[in-house]
Symmetry: C2
Subunit: 469 residues, 2 copies
């Protein structure tokens, strides 16, 4: 179930907004930490200087791109755009190597022979180089740089401040599961948080929990399978139900609904209404069984698969998560190497079928795919997990509805590493464009972000008076 992280990365909503930027390219070495490979390639970055007060050394707001095309992040990280004018800031969104168009070996980049330089450390070093370039290669930088990121991008925003504090004055790290590596958190916590969102609606999680056995049992007979196909509106022949794919599809749907449980309508892979968990749970709001339970599940799936579509389509459950258009194929490799994040379910404390975390199997699967075994300690050793006593000027924000808060770092260690827990907020809601439907917790979080940003900028300026005056 580790594959959910990938899924988490593209919960982009409010596609209505359109921000303007120039697309630029920046040359980086393939290997920042060795000199055996001499190749260089270009990463993409998006730039807007409309609000920038360059003469008075206005700040640079720098988004540390996630695993995907950077345009998606530029278009949906409304918070940066909305505060840029107030701070007279330049805006930069940097694309992560091996994603989008920032591929060192073009179309071959994700093949076994070429994918090895896809690591977070190399990506951070790309960003460090780019920031240095944006500072005109000056040894005493003039512009305060604030890093922003959500989810994996939030991890990178935190990590760049941890590893390159001379380049970044402070970081807003939203929904960053920095504490999700092996041995750090209980693997079932993720699915318990998913379950909690459904539990808030009477009978909803209980009905889902009961449904697994029912679905499996229907799928095992010819008549049952036919009934399932018809009721759930599944694509494909009713005599060839792939029950494991179906179960996986449903699990994935519930996880996604919990993660994008926003107060406004969203347009993720399939468009979803505001408060999607409450919306789907209305079909499961009494103690259901047998055919009435399956009919309820069918309505849930119909919302997930068909909301907002003009023509209803059959549920293509075998397709799985089709994110090809987001070009996020590299994440599977990252999850198989350094970003090992155990997720499991017990069937006891969550509404899913029991599914233990099996590192051996995970590891062997990775070896088959990429000819590498996971380096399960790599990220912890490199970034420290939650041992952040020496870190400074980072805000970690977590939404209490967000399953990824399972890997959250939820006790602040110093005055300058702050943790903001946002009630009623799903996955990095605080970075998204503001909405009339936003409630006070997320509004307060954004205000706190601004207070931190102002403080970091002031302190950078106080420290660099001799440079900027």
């Amino acid at each position: 179930m580790w594959r959910y992280l990938l899924l988490s990365m593209f919960l982009f909503v409010n596609v209505n907004t359109h921000y303007l930027y120039k697309t630029k390219w920046f040359e980086v070495p393939l290997d920042h930490f060795g000199l055996g490979r001499k190749e260089t390639f270009k990463i993409k970055y998006l730039e807007n200087e409309d609000y920038w007060n360059k003469n008075e050394y206005g700040p640079i707001f720098f988004y540390t791109g996630n695993e995907g095309q950077i345009e998606a992040f530029a278009n949906y990280t409304g918070f940066m755009w909305e505060i840029a004018a107030e701070y007279q800031a330049k805006i930069v969104f940097a694309e992560h190597r091996y994603y989008g168009e920032s591929k060192p070996f073009g179309n071959k980049s994700l093949e076994k022979e070429y994918i090895g330089y896809l690591t977070s450390a190399q990506a951070l070093a790309d960003y460090a180089d780019l920031i240095n370039y944006l500072q005109n290669n000056e040894i005493k930088p003039r512009y305060p740089v604030i890093a922003f990121g959500g989810s994996y991008g939030g991890m990178l925003a935190a990590y760049i401040r941890i590893k390159y504090p001379h380049l970044v004055a402070g970081s807003i790290a939203a929904s960053a599961p920095i504490h999700m590596f092996p041995g750090m958190t209980k693997c079932d916590l993720f699915n318990r948080i998913v379950t909690a969102s459904f539990k808030r609606n009477l009978y909803c999680s209980e009905n889902i929990q009961k449904s697994w056995h029912l679905i499996r049992s229907y799928s095992s007979s010819v008549n049952g399978s036919e009934y399932l196909h018809k009721t759930l509106n599944l694509c494909g022949a009713s005599n060839a139900t792939d029950i494991n794919s179906l179960i996986e599809y449903l699990e994935s749907a519930y996880v996604t609904l919990a993660m994008v449980n926003y107060p406004f309508a969203s347009s993720f892979l399939t468009p979803l209404p505001a408060q999607p968990v409450a919306v789907v749970c209305q079909y499961l709001n009494q103690n259901l069984a047998n055919e009435s339970l399956l009919e309820g599940i069918a309505k849930v799936i119909d919302v997930y698969a068909n909301y907002g579509k003009k023509t209803k389509q059959c549920v293509d459950y075998k397709e799985g998560d089709n994110y090809q258009n987001l070009d996020a194929g590299g994440w599977d490799f990252q999850a198989c190497t350094e970003m090992v994040m155990p997720v499991c379910s017990t069937g006891q404390n969550d509404m899913f079928e029991a599914s233990p975390w099996n590192f051996t199997k995970f590891s062997e699967d990775c070896y088959k795919k990429y000819n590498v075994y996971p380096r399960e300690n790599m990220a912890r050793l490199e970034y420290g997990g939650d041992l952040l006593q020496a870190a400074s000027n980072i805000v970690f924000s977590y939404g209490l509805l967000d399953p990824w808060t399972a890997g959250g770092f939820i006790s602040s260690v110093s005055d300058s590493v702050d943790v903001i827990l946002i009630a009623d907020a799903a996955h990095h809601l605080d970075l998204m464009p503001s909405s009339p439907d936003d409630q006070s917790p997320v509004k307060d979080a954004r205000e706190k972000h601004k207070q931190h940003i102002s403080k970091w900028i002031d302190s950078f300026r106080a420290r660099n008076k001799h440079v900027v005056t």
Copy 2:
């Protein structure tokens, strides 16, 4: 003149002391930051547990090995051994990859095709892995780790605290030229400090300054060349004086004398008496010219080349610095890639011939040798130069007689990054075995080191109470 850095690394004195350790090996990946290369190899480390109170979580004193065989550092970093009992500490000396016996590709390691993984970042990651292993791979480490290092090893001690503060509680970084990268310091400062040591002795630097022209002019005639050979006791035929090698040999001798200007006799490449600069300057203590000046220089060189030797030998000036036995061949590559440290002389403010820093030539020479161009910003971007506002728990110590203080970081930025300037001290004297000849400045510095170490250990323990009790 950048080659002096290499030279600086092996100023080991007081060879009388012999410390006991076990030699161990630890497997590391060739590439910590990428997964394209699957090779692993073993680095050597030396371990002593005689003083370690493991049960009560005694600290680990961890020396971040320089460019050379680690035994040399273990044998001459007396400070760690002398305080280990008081702290009930375990002692570890880790050998830097590509030096000594820690070669990833055996004898071929320094060849162009294999040398690319010789970088400080990879070495630090080796040490991080080793520290994790010494902590039994525990997510909440139990033993406070204190890093120690001198010269390049001092840079690594500082850098490991900067980059891996979750693994290292604090660092003693002695004579670490972290501010010696391009654009950070004036390139002639190094040789001005060398000159200052000689200037403390009447007429000494002035005579040396005058000698260059005289030596060149003698070397340009047959008779003069013969006189030079005889007087200076040079090896080789007198009709084939390699004047540039001779000048370089003399410069290098003066630099070395300044660096090892210790209060006790030392046994560096060639053994030297206590206070070697004062000793040699007694032969130049009046205004000399012509043959009397050359005779004075001859006596200086005789001390440098023959002190303590039973049989006087001719001065093998063409051999240059012969450090083969220290196995430090990799440094030349490091200086050509990330450790670019400009050194020059003006002939005005120093006692040397004018020799400008020529990066273009330097760069082309590197390309010829290694097929790589220097990445002149690499170390600055990775480690921040002197922008250490976010760093903590580091002591930088610098001897005021040490030319490498030219690259010193000499203003402390916070309560927890301290700078200790040690009067009358040459290159990382504070880490060396104590001597009856030690003066109060170095004794005070060692006391301060201990105060810092105690504070770091206490603070680690306070923070980890839930772990260690």
